[in-house]
Symmetry: C2
Subunit: 345 residues, 2 copies
């Protein structure tokens, strides 16, 4: 297999270089054909690489960058004032063809703005979308988009997102099925299943999707069905998608805290919680595993994967793996072709 | 204590009269000063009352209604074509003063439209809002609104909802604190905590709330913090609130299904899950208890409580109890006074 190069924003995320570089090294161990370009403060990066074995370091190139986009920076600051940021450089390496994809755990708004400006959207796509792959009931999974790239969407953007989600579900998700035979079920997120529920924009998007024979549009689903496996692709605006995903995350935190509280209530509960650990581990593996880290910014002429800001090293490695899958499946090309076939014909 | 009369839409909900009447009887046992007016098909209601002891039946009056608002009916159908529906009659009894409050487990959109037309909104309130009381971490709780009464909100509506939520948190929620000393923390739901995040409408609402000295506005919170206890009142538009609440419900269903799957995987897991039952029961009691059934439609010159459509008898009884609390606290009057003090001064 030929070398696959990924540019990594080594300064992003809540924990900075120590976690990002540790994840990078894990990914290099997992993927022998991977080469990484680490963008950021070379002194801090080299510090983290000190203990790394030489054979791994041979597959790393460090590109020094003076600036760092912080979590508080407005997109405009990242775009205009931080011309030598690690985030910008990682995206530029994709734009110039030196890297096949880039990964960042940094400021989502800045990443979105920089990627849109430097990589440009694909023909037929107005705005890129942030999409994530979620584990569902009965061993199923679903792609949810947009998760916050666009705060408000038009019906046109919702339709474009539906088509892009369908391409992802058909090519990246659902391994083991015959992709040519698999028509992902696409749904719009709404506050009810009846046709008169929700915003006018959703109704207009539904009318357009019904007319697209190549999209298996199944109508509206409600937020309590996101993880039911009823739909393979769930489309909504960036504000709502962000809230739906974070509300779900909040439940996990809440349950974890409650279990901690129950455990410390008395010795009997402490023993019971300890006995439950194998079940909790199984649940954890399914519901909030590191392997679901990595939201993709799609609709661009290049691959950009956004890692969770507070990702651990395993999760960073998985975000890199997600980028590798997208390179191997040539997702931007497939989206471009499908959009041309469906929306521009 | 004087008699407190509540009108009950006995035909609403997924299960109809059997569950609603069973919940009504439970509530009558719990509250000796309660009198219920059961609106609906008298033949079906009387069928359910056959086995009920005479002392309880003495505190029930049945009002026969010919029509039923179905879950599929548009609000316009409920308003114009079903003039003798059980839902409409229950609200009319509040409007005429024959009942202190009404409870329905029926079609939310229809309930909202009928209540707005028959009861009218309070001075200074443009539109009523649907609000629910949620259990939070560390024994705290929060009021979340709007949950779907208004699909889209203006900044003015968000501000009015913030004030109404603050009144509820101060008077109904947080028992055991000195209400006069308690200034509920009010937050707007957003996709980030920074001031430039989210829609323009949210920024405008935030600017207005900052200027209201009598409201303890703490800024934005994200959806993963809804149950954190950080805010006592969380304000959002009806579409987003509905999605946030239902996404949370979806996680519980997902976890229940996963635990069932783990249990049936092998005998050892079956034993472990059985051992965990006391913990699961404790969690269930906290997270999705019947006692959190009952969303209130506030901002009206009357009390309307919406029970979950698939509520069981205990949950219906709790929705009735919620209505009793609101009557005893005279919530519409308190909202009216506070709105006059804060927004109309």
């Amino acid at each position: 297999m030929s070398v696959l190069t990924i540019a990594l924003d080594s300064m992003g995320g809540d924990h900075g270089p120590p976690i990002i570089i540790s994840g990078a090294v894990k990914a290099l161990h997992q993927h022998p054909h991977l080469f990484l370009i680490l963008c950021g403060d070379s002194q801090r990066i080299n510090q983290e690489l000190k203990e790394v074995q030489i054979s791994i370091c041979k597959r790393i190139k460090v590109v020094h960058c003076q600036d760092v986009v912080t979590m508080e920076d407005k997109p405009s600051v990242a775009l205009r004032r931080k011309k030598d940021s690690s985030m910008r450089r990682a995206i530029e390496l994709v734009a110039s063809g030196e890297a096949h994809a880039c990964v960042s755990a940094g400021n989502t708004g800045a990443l979105f703005a920089l990627a849109a400006v430097l990589l440009k959207t694909l023909p037929g796509i107005n705005r890129p979308a942030l999409v994530s792959h979620l584990p569902c009931q009965s061993e199923k999974s679903a792609w949810l988009l947009d998760l916050g790239a666009n705060i408000s969407n038009s019906d046109t953007t919702l339709v474009q997102n539906a088509v892009m989600g369908s391409v992802l579900a058909q090519t990246v998700g659902h391994f083991g099925v015959d992709h040519n035979q698999f028509a992902p079920k696409v749904a719009l997120l709404n506050v009810g299943e009846e046709h008169n529920k929700g915003h006018e924009i959703i109704h207009q998007a539904a009318d357009k999707l019904k007319k697209l024979n190549k999209i298996n549009f199944i109508g509206y689903i409600e937020a309590n069905e996101i993880l039911s496996g009823k739909a393979d692709v769930i489309v909504t605006d960036g504000f709502t998608g962000n809230v739906a995903l974070k509300a779900s995350e909040g439940i996990y935190t809440f349950l974890r805290e409650e279990i901690t509280r129950i455990r410390s209530s008395n010795l009997w509960m402490k023993i019971l919680v300890m006995l439950c650990i194998p079940i909790l581990k199984k649940l954890y593996k399914k519901i909030k595993p590191d392997q679901y880290n990595g939201a993709s910014l799609i609709g661009l002429a290049g691959i950009v994967v956004k890692s969770h800001g507070n990702a651990n090293a395993n999760a960073v490695a998985f975000a890199i793996t997600q980028a590798i899958h997208e390179v191997e499946q040539d997702i931007p090309h497939k989206i471009k072709t499908t959009i041309a076939n469906i929306l521009l014909e």
